[in-house]
Amino acid sequence: MSDAVSPSRPLARLNPLKDQRLWALGVALLGASALFVFWGGAWRSAYILELRVVKLAGLLCVGSAIGVATVLFQTLTNNRILTPTIMGFDALFLLMKTILVFVAGVLALPVLGATPTFLADTTVMILATLAIFAAVLRRARHDIQLLVLVGVIFGLLFRTLAGFLQRLLDPSQFAIVQADMFATFSGMDQRSLAVAAMVMACFFLWLASRYAVLDVMALGRDQARALGVPYDRLQLQILAAIAALVSVSTALVGPLAFLGLLVTALTHALMRSHRHGLLLPAASLISCLILVVGQTVFERVFSLNSSLAVVIEFCGGLLFLFLLARGHIK
């Protein structure tokens, strides 16, 4: 009971800035980012540098969005194998986007710029998520199998509906939607990236003052409420945050079902803590690290531009099956 310095010790004051593991992850990410940007003497060309910095920014946005969204989602659902994408959040985003494009086409609205489009997509996504998942989560919270089932069915339903609507689109409208349908890390739009980064910064600021109450929420609804936490209100707010973060990552690179799972599994293995003040930064750092290192290796070493998503999904998918088989639901 003598030293209360290391944050992994129970009840010690939480100070993420004193955690060596977080520092190590940060330094590793910094190194990987430098490697990604400067590989092959890129400093000689301002053009290449700019391209790579934009891409790096995109990877960091997507990485932290997926890492944080998955940790939050697992806290709300009290489990460690579900991720927002497994539960169909990304499919919902694509459906909402398709509907917006479709409606805009029918009403012959002028085509909006990237920024308003992104904001409109995200807003509609948040509202739709709150409407659907809040209702479902409230009923199925205690039954993880039911939750998975509902998520999978909703995901299928959203995808099918989106597919149906996409057939009704004209080719130029379809191209707008198609860009978000498959996970690729190339061709991220600079302006949507800036907006995405701003949206995320807002949510992260909002989260930064709430990491302690998240620890209480992780105990479960009854326990948290008995301790005076306004659980239901916070749950809705966090669902909105998750929806926005999923919107960011889906809009930027497309659906990545299993990256979040990979990230949270590694995060829990590394941090061995229930504290969100440690889990959230660790998850976003690990997620960014996977993306940046992976992209460096695939793009620079193997010159394979589009394989990273496939490999991440393959590894994450295997892990998912492994966790399911081991019965590791918590």
């Binding site: 009840l11 209480v216 992780a218 009854d222 326990q223 301790l227 005076g228 306004p230 229930h274």
Partner: protein, 252 residues
């Protein structure tokens, strides 16, 4: 005092609490007894606002429960449910830390650490403080949650079958501890008990329930009769007087 008037609760067309009128007194140990499915857990849940009542009113010290904020409620009452599980994988000492949430909001000070340490000692958990909850036996986990409720330092303690899983020694020490909290710290305790001998030995008041209704209520010494208890549980129960202490004989 907790005053319950005309409290009814039904779920899926089934009447679970049916017009409950009773009161739970301050500074007493009140035993909530009755057969399985009587609605004891549901009543406790209604007082703790874990189930949303359909009709009726619950007042705590004259204040309608609906008008009390969740934060104030957490300082007013601590609940230990019948079925205990938490979502996250945490250590015993962290669980107790959460008990201080209503007071410290995650910023534990020296006073909070002192309370946590004394709760660990009270409930014989000091050796287990760094264990994860899922590495404990049922009784040890039960004690961890009781210690958390103790650390919450609320006026009212609502305990649902706390003797479940506890061995003789820890069961007895829990009841002695509750008695001490009532007499020395002016706490009030409502506890669901199944063992009539514990009820007879420790409870000041009894509220007996069956089929969602209160069958009888009052001071233990006056309401706990052989006839009333036999009728409540629908099984023969004899009360034996041994040196002025009553014992229930219902085993055979």
């Amino acid at each position: 005092m907790i005053e319950i008037s005309n409290l009814s609760y039904s779920i899926a067309g089934q009447q679970i609490l049916d017009g409950i009128n009773t009161h739970l007194q301050r500074n007493q140990i009140t035993a909530l007894i009755g057969p399985n499915g009587a609605g004891k857990s549901t009543l406790l849940g209604a007082i703790g606002r874990q189930v949303d009542i359909n009709t009726g009113q619950i007042k705590i010290d004259g204040e309608d429960l609906q008008n009390i904020t969740p934060q104030d409620q957490a300082r007013l009452m601590a609940i230990v449910a019948q079925h205990l599980h938490v979502g996250s994988r945490i250590r015993v000492v962290d669980l107790l830390g959460f008990g201080r949430w209503p007071h410290a909001k995650g910023r534990l000070g020296p006073q909070d650490h002192f309370i946590i340490q004394s709760a660990l000692a009270q409930f014989d958990l000091t050796d287990l403080e760094n264990r994860f909850l899922d590495e404990l036996s049922g009784g040890q986990r039960q004690r961890a949650f009781l210690a958390m409720a103790h650390a919450q330092d609320a006026d009212w303690l609502l305990l649902d079958e706390p003797l479940n899983n506890l061995d003789l020694k820890h069961g007895r020490s829990l009841m002695a501890h509750l008695r001490q909290m009532v007499s020395e710290k002016s706490k009030s305790v409502v506890v669901v008990l199944h063992d009539l001998n514990f009820t007879l030995a420790w409870a000041d008041q009894i509220v007996a329930m069956r089929d969602g209704q209160v069958v009888f209520a009052g001071p233990t010494t006056t309401v706990a009769t052989s006839e009333a208890l036999s009728d409540l549980y629908q099984t023969p129960i004899e009360l034996l007087n041994l040196n002025g202490h009553f014992f229930a004989q219902y085993h055979r």
